[in-house]
Amino acid sequence: MGAIITLSVLGILVLYLGLYKAKNALLPVTLLGLLVAFGFTVADWNKDATPLFNGMVYFDKFALAFSMLCIFITALILLLSKEYFRNISEHVAEYYCLLVFSLTGALIVTAYHNFAMLFIGIEIMSVALYILVGIRKYDKASNEAALKYFLMGAFSTGFLLFGIALLYGASGTFDLEGLRNYVLTAGEISPLFYAGVLLMLCGLCFKIGAAPFHFWTPDVYDGAPILITAFMSTVVKVASFVGFLRLFSMVFVPVSDLWTPVLLTVVIITLFIGNITALMQSSFKRMMAYSSISHAGYMLFALVSISVTSAASMFTYAFAYSLASVIAFAILILVKRETGSDQFESFNGLGKRKPGLALAMTVAMLSLAGIPLTAGFIGKFMMFNQVMGGYNIVLLLLAVVNAAIGVYYYLHVVVNMYFKDADGEMQIQIPTSYKVVLTLAVALTILIGVYPDCVIGLL
């Protein structure tokens, strides 16, 4: 709870800093605030968790671990933001404030224990993002992305609310504990409850961008400023998954006969659509958007066969995926600043000019593709293991085929970097903060790949 309060106050503080034109203090203060929030989360780690505030929030290890992940990734993204927002517009403080509020929403979603909190958390997270996506006011693509995201978000929230209403109609409670008691003790589960489960599934699939509810993802990720895309595809996506997993593993497991086939179909469609469309992209940013759809498919494995290790698998995968995404988007920002385009061709010859950047990019791509000795491999391994535990051999085979397709398009950019020559001469300046973020992220990616217990042991 300390973390949520800290972040709420931090957002308002940042607004005041903007009011008094203290622009240079913005980034340090925000990072300090995140550090304090991180500290509160760590301090809660060994305490016995009980639902607080009449069962509204529940800070168990599951929630705390994902909260820490979200705060950490946000800090990395903020470090990248140093010069970024200033080029877009004058109102830098407001962007920091919105990012911090969005993170607050994400923390609420990781720790909710009542549907009221789930709804408010998702709304805070999304409303801040609707605006951040559209902050390039004079850019048509950004406007389109913001409007599309807003309409789709509102639509999916409708599904979510309708689902919540039906679940309430069946069980008479918004509380997860109460819902679980209802599922376990009710002699005959009302059809209202089943309809509610399906609607919740649709609403949450919209939020995580799983096919066939993925139509907004590519356009929004492509149109948004790169830094916001990085935030959306890591922190927000992970938080939505946590909300998804918490609800389904805590409440809906006894009625899994109903939703497992539905979710299985969603997973298979998501994997194929994400990977096959990613193959055909010529823009790196758009490729990352489709790849994030396919990663949503892999992350859903933890839900298809829920077991005690689901949380750990999800955590490892989310960690690996977020780190790799941050690296990839950071390098894309640098490359785009020089070449002005986000096509694969703009990476040509990067291996000769900036070996360090090219190496970091290679590690990120290998991690996303799931090659051993990177964190992505451990994540994929745990997810596949999860499915093996459920004896879902068909799904496993399809997933392996998809992983193979993934290797092809992830290595596309690596080939461009090392085996193609650049057209002209250009110098990429790497700011210190980028060096710090890239080094840290690459080191963590390899550390998790070599010694995975440090992450798996957490949960």
Partner: protein, 165 residues
């Protein structure tokens, strides 16, 4: 009960009219009437607070907003986007699936269900306030962040950038 059926019929009738009228302004006006019938439903359920809020916020504020937007957009037949038959068929199938699911779910509802009858007084302002400030205190407080976010965003998007000299 007869009042309920009358109002329910009117609600569905005007909701359908909202969809089927060609003129967008008429459509909005029908939507206003639909909301009005819903307000009557709330009163029948003894939910005074919801009724008042629905009346003021939805029928008042939001519908005026709708009308303004419609006038600004200046919609007419030429600007109506053409939808392919495929999309229409898909929409119809998806809608039918949703109806089938919901009808299947709703068939169990009976008026004497414990959840439906429940506490008749719960919709009164006093009881609602008690629930809001006791059980749901945390979501109530946190929703202030949601409103603040929306406000910051609205100002940010609407404000004119000062041109650099």
């Amino acid at each position: 009960m007869t009042v309920f059926y009358l109002v329910a019929f009117l609600a569905i009738f005007f909701a359908l009219m909202t969809i089927f009228t060609k003129n967008p302004v008429h459509s909005v006006l029908y939507l206003v009437i639909t909301f009005f019938t819903l307000t009557i439903h709330y009163i029948l359920l003894n939910a005074q607070f919801l009724a008042v809020v629905n009346f003021i916020v939805y029928m008042g504020a939001i519908m005026v907003l709708f009308l303004f937007v419609l006038m600004l957009l200046n919609l007419n037949k030429e600007s109506e986007p053409m939808k392919s038959n495929f999309v229409k068929i898909m929409g119809a199938i998806a809608g039918m699936c949703l109806i089938a699911t919901l009808l299947g779910a709703f068939r169990v509802i009976e008026p004497n269900n414990q959840m439906v009858v429940g506490n008749e007084e719960v919709g009164l302002v006093k009881n609602l306030g008690k629930v809001l400030f006791k059980e749901f205190l945390l979501p109530f407080e946190i929703s202030s962040i949601l409103l603040l976010t929306a406000m910051v965003g609205a100002v940010l998007l609407a404000k004119k950038d000062v041109k650099k000299v």
